[in-house]
């Protein structure tokens, strides 16, 4: 196995592991963390928006899974 092939296999392993067939969850997690950062600098009551954003992300992914 060449170095390039080994690197490709390594990259493919982590891609499958972290993203796989649910890229919306990986990308969505980044979005909800940005939301968390924005909430942290706002009024304390907004804290509930963070788990709410996680629920919306899960629901969207389940909806996609239901159809697929």
């Amino acid at each position: 196995m060449t170095v390039a092939a080994a690197l490709r296999a390594f990259g493919r392993f982590w891609w499958d592991f972290l993203i796989g067939d649910t890229p919306e969850l990986a990308g969505g997690t980044l979005v909800v963390i940005v939301i968390a950062w924005a909430i942290a600098h706002g009024p304390g009551a907004l804290v509930v928006c963070f788990p709410a954003a996680v629920v919306v992300l899960l629901a969207a992914s389940l909806w996609r899974g239901r159809r697929g």
Binding site: A26, A40, F50, V54, V55, L58, A59, L62
Partner: protein, 251 residues
């Protein structure tokens, strides 16, 4: 104290689920290719996994600021947890086939029996199959152990819980001398998914600067909230589903 107990439970259950899946592959390799090379392969994989935790755990604690660590590993935990939870909810609602250890075992035995065997000495196929099975299933556990252990500052508890799960699953597997098909894998996956998503929300939120009400107690509130959401989601998804047959596909 409560969050430590939840952390230990989450790691133990996650590691149990993965260990059951690895055990199925190890048993299939052992029965068809001989036990010596199979056990050596599994032991080598466990050593590599332990070395990864030993290498990255203390280094990350020492060199990365705790807020950055919590944000990054909390996000990783959240992403992994959502994947587990999504899969478990789709399976619980019948939209995705459940993981069938018996079918996987039969398929692996049939596949490995057909491969040529060396005349004597070690069997490279048995070693590689066993190594890959344990290593690939174990990598997810390593990530969970590192992310939960590092973000909570309780890496030792997380490692101990993972090691205990490996010992328990191996001992039970050896005692009953077969794969553990009766383990309620999807229910455990659902529980682990709920805890990972809750810990991931909590720690990534802390890393982003959120001050949770009730401090660590907020984790219990998050678990309860997500559990209600999971219950509602399963009921909703069950409407109009087509029941999928058990699948031999890997988890």
């Amino acid at each position: 104290m409560t969050s430590t107990l939840l952390l230990v439970l989450a790691v133990f259950a996650a590691c149990t689920v993965e260990a059951v899946e690895a055990l199925t592959i190890v048993l299939a390799a052992g029965v068809t290719r001989g036990w010596r090379s199979t056990i050596e392969g599994a032991a080598a994989a466990l050593l590599v996994l332990a070395a990864l935790v030993a290498a990255f755990g203390p280094a990350l604690i020492r060199y990365v600021p705790i807020s950055v660590l919590r944000l990054v590993v909390g996000g990783l935990l959240l992403s992994l947890g959502l994947q587990w939870l999504r899969k478990a909810l789709l399976r619980a609602s019948g939209l995705k086939a459940k993981h069938d250890e018996d079918a996987i075992y039969r398929r692996e035995v049939a596949r490995l029996s057909g491969l040529p065997r060396p005349a004597g000495g070690r069997d490279a196929t048995g070693f590689v199959i066993s190594f890959k099975g344990v290593f690939l299933e174990g990598m997810e556990v390593v990530l969970i152990v590192l992310s939960l252990g590092l973000s909570s500052g309780r890496l030792g508890y997380a490692v101990a819980a993972a090691a205990a799960a490996v010992v328990v699953v191996t001992a039970v597997g050896l005692l009953v001398a077969r794969q553990l098909a009766e383990v309620p894998e999807n229910a455990m996956k659902l529980g682990v998914g709920l805890m990972l998503v809750s810990f991931g929300t909590f720690w990534s939120g802390e890393g982003a600067g959120i001050r949770w009400p009730l401090a660590d107690g907020a984790i219990l509130g998050l678990i309860a909230t997500y559990a209600v959401v999971a219950f509602v989601a399963v009921r909703f998804l069950q409407r109009g589903r087509v029941v999928a047959p058990p699948s031999p596909e890997p988890a």
